[in-house]
């Protein structure tokens, strides 16, 4: 895996030089990437928890919205830490609501999720009209500002890496910049989010609870016959899923920005679902996917040239994949990737500057392209989306 990481960094470094986009691998970009990755990563983890237990959680977006609203509401009055806790609680309650609807009333999981999204959007607007409208700095679509949480930096990193970063050594400087960006001025919440990745992996794949939850997602009838209640475990999973989404929302209002704003979540709940598919329902690949999407998300706020450089990066990546597929004898696949790569290179050459409107959907387009070109041999949990009924045929 470290080989792949190194290769990626080298490629990015070379491309940023070739495309005249020095900001692609800068300290600022990496810091922004980390901040933008966190909510997507949390949404991905939330989707992972739910889907591993067999439930499709389309309501992630709504849970995130509740996280943003309650995070801002409580955070404005009682400080960011209380806001974060409130956001988590709000998300968790919606997760439990989904559990009641999809498991208790046995409504179609996707429909229940959609309904919760609609309710969450309406609720956020309604509550804003009562609590934010008329307050200093607030309105129906925005909350007053919330204080930020404390940030930390790795001691000594600045002193050690700064000189390397500013010296313009071709690839090494970029590596130093990237490292600096990842360890400087990192919010405590971001650290928590990153820590949740190994925690999730450990709980889901190394504890009895995780095993039981995964069993409910693969073959709930078998689990039920052994005394493992799918309803209970799916409820637990949905509560965690909602909590993650709520935390993502709280992150958006305390770290990524300092206010609740209508439409703030921007589809990140759904991008989170996409990261799970990208990661083949495994923890670390999901996190990697979240970072890829978060990185493109962050580039929207940086130099325009960086987004153009992304086209080249994607082209190189596609070429690599084409070579790999060609070696695996999937020639048609390889040809497809190769053609896509050529298209990207020509796009890069012909479009000197990527228009800002296009930049706005860079993460969404990336998600779409990644999903469209991903391996066809992905394996979802076997009972995903299927309602369980004791005595039924499943």
């Amino acid at each position: 895996m470290w080989l792949r990481v190194t290769l990626t960094v080298v490629v990015l470094s070379l491309v940023s030089g070739a495309a005249n986009a020095p900001d692609l691998l800068s300290e600022g970009s990496m810091g922004a990437a980390l901040r933008f990755t966190a909510p997507i990563l949390l949404a991905g983890l939330g989707a992972l928890w739910a889907e591993r237990s067999g439930v499709v959680n389309i309501g992630l977006e709504g849970m995130m919205i509740m996280g943003t609203w309650f995070g801002a509401f409580v955070g404005h009055q009682a400080g960011p830490l209380a806001g974060v806790l409130a956001g988590v609680a709000a998300g968790m309650s919606f997760g439990l609501a989904l559990a009641v609807m999809a498991l208790g009333f046995r409504i179609d999981q996707a429909v229940a999720g959609l309904a919760l999204n609609l309710l969450a959007a309406g609720l956020a607007r309604f509550l804003s009209s009562i609590f934010f409208d008329g307050i200093d700095g607030g309105s129906i679509t925005q909350s007053p500002t919330v204080d930020a949480l404390a940030t930390v930096s790795l001691p000594g990193a600045q002193a050690l890496l700064e000189p390397v970063a500013s010296a313009s050594i071709p690839i090494v400087s970029d590596v130093a910049q990237v490292t600096l960006g990842l360890v400087t001025d990192v919010s405590l919440l971001t650290l928590l989010v990153v820590a949740l990745v190994p925690i999730t992996w450990w709980v889901l794949f190394r504890t009895g609870l995780g095993l039981r939850i995964r069993a409910c997602g693969e073959h709930p009838a078998a689990a039920d016959s052994l005394g493992v209640s799918p309803a209970v475990h799916r409820t637990i999973a949905l509560a965690v899923s909602g909590a993650m989404a709520g935390l993502a929302g709280a992150f958006l209002v305390t770290v990524a920005s300092s206010v609740y704003r209508e439409g703030q979540t921007g589809g990140r709940g759904f991008i989170g679902m996409a990261t799970v598919v990208f990661g083949n329902w495994m923890v670390v690949p999901t996190a990697i996917g979240a970072f890829i999407f978060g990185f493109t998300d962050a580039l929207r706020t940086r130099q325009e040239a960086s987004v153009g450089a992304l086209l080249l990066v994607a082209a190189v990546a596609f070429v690599i994949v084409a070579v790999v597929r060609g070696r695996h004898r999937s020639c048609r696949d390889a040809a497809g990737w190769g053609v896509a790569s050529a298209l990207l290179v020509s796009a890069f050459v012909l479009l000197p500057v990527v228009p800002p409107e296009f930049v706005s959907f860079a993460p969404h387009l990336t998600t779409l392209v990644v999903l469209a070109l991903a391996r066809p041999d992905l394996r979802a949990p076997a009972a995903l989306g299927l309602p369980f009924r004791r005595g039924g045929s499943s």
């Binding site: 009333f105 409504i107 919760l116 309604f126 679902m273 409107e357 706005s360 969404h364 998600t367 070109l373």
Partner: protein, 371 residues
């Protein structure tokens, strides 16, 4: 048997009534909590909502909602969640506005051209999601939402004076060229006022959808695929083709959702073109149980709720109470339909069980037809 036939739709009508009742209850509680006289507000709302002008406004608004709902329902019937109606209708309206503003044709050719363009663009945009789902296994939910964002960006880029738009003199609004008379739809005079002309098209679409879904082989295959792709495949349905065709159909109807606004009201696509119709369409499809008639009632109800919100403003109550009501209605109705459906299934099972017990050995169908 006739009694049974009446009970089924009767129970299904009970569900929305219960849901609306629950929403009214919640709204009443919320209003009481904020110190308002709930009963008085209800009276005022009903009085305002039943004026001639209100009825016309409600019908006008419901036309767009109805088309969005039908679009969602077509996809829902096949088990697909076309969340991309938002992007589809806006892209379609934008394209239609550009073409309509550029090409001058006599009436009704201008209108027909714009409708055609809208359906084409909407269908094509949805087809992207359909193709990705059918051939690459990409979840329709995710791809349509991503396509929404992409559509927004594309429209934003094109809606610029240097590209496809013009700056309206003296205003901040950037919009496409004004559509000439040949591309405008007249209103229909009624005793209560002038109603949007696209209402007729919407009714036609609804009837057509009902016919196709319920009375043609394609409709049957679509519904069968929605219930079980594998079973439908056994019956000879090409799953991939069905997915793509359904999405195209859904997108084409979605493309029509922005037409009432474009052809009857604004005559140009500007920064102020209404957004959010897609989610309304989904909610309405859920409320109307994916049935063209149910969706019509749901669209009217939804439009009426939004109209009532305006009176709430005047009485000093937050109009967002209506937003909450809408959210509660959706949740309540989804739960209510499920419960009612289960009640009906249990009745049917009991009925079959009784018939089976009464005449052992014979098939339940034969016993039922005699009972």
């Amino acid at each position: 048997m006739t009694r049974e036939r009446l009970i089924r739709p009767g129970l299904f009508l009970a569900a929305p009534v219960i849901a609306v009742g629950l929403a009214l209850l919640v709204a009443g509680l919320v209003l009481a909590a904020t110190g308002a006289d709930a009963l008085r507000v209800l009276q005022d709302t009903i009085a305002y909502g039943t004026t001639g002008r209100s009825v016309v406004a409600v019908v006008d608004k419901s036309v767009g909602y109805y088309l969005a709902g039908i679009a969602a329902a077509i996809a829902f019937r096949m088990g697909l969640f076309n969340i991309g109606i938002d992007g589809q209708y806006r892209l379609a309206a934008f394209a239609a506005a550009v073409v309509g503003g550029a090409v001058v044709l006599p009436w009704p050719l201008g209108v027909v051209l714009m409708i055609g363009v809208a359906m084409l663009v909407g269908g094509a945009w949805a087809a992207i999601a359909g193709l990705l789902a059918a051939h690459r296994g990409v979840s329709v939910v995710i791809s349509t939402i991503m396509l929404n964002a992409i559509a927004t960006g594309i429209i934003a880029w094109l809606l610029h004076p240097s590209r496809l738009a013009v700056q309206a003199p003296g205003s901040n609004n950037v919009a496409t060229a004004l559509i000439p008379e040949g591309g405008r739809l007249p209103t229909i005079p009624t005793p209560l006022g002038d109603v949007d002309g696209f209402l007729l098209v919407a009714i036609a679409v609804g009837v057509l959808t009902w016919l196709v879904l319920g009375r043609t082989r394609f409709g049957f295959e679509l519904r069968a695929s929605g219930m079980s792709l594998r079973a439908a495949a056994v019956a000879g349905v090409d799953a991939k083709r069905m997915i793509v065709v359904t999405m195209i159909a859904s997108g084409a109807v979605a493309g029509l959702a922005g037409m009432p606004q474009l052809l009857g009201a604004s005559h140009r696509y500007g920064l102020d073109f209404p957004a959010g119709l897609g989610w309304t369409g989904i909610a309405i499809a859920l409320l109307g149980r994916n049935h063209p008639l149910g969706i019509a009632i749901a669209a009217l109800l939804w439009a009426w709720l939004e109209r009532s919100a305006q009176i709430l403003d005047l009485t000093g109550i937050s109009r967002e109470v209506v937003t909450i009501m809408q959210g509660v209605i959706v949740i309540a109705i989804v739960v209510a339909y499920e419960l009612v459906g289960r009640m009906i299934r249990r009745r049917e099972q009991r009925f079959v069980g009784l018939a089976e017990a009464a005449t052992p050995g014979e098939g339940p169908a034969r016993a039922a037809s005699g009972a």
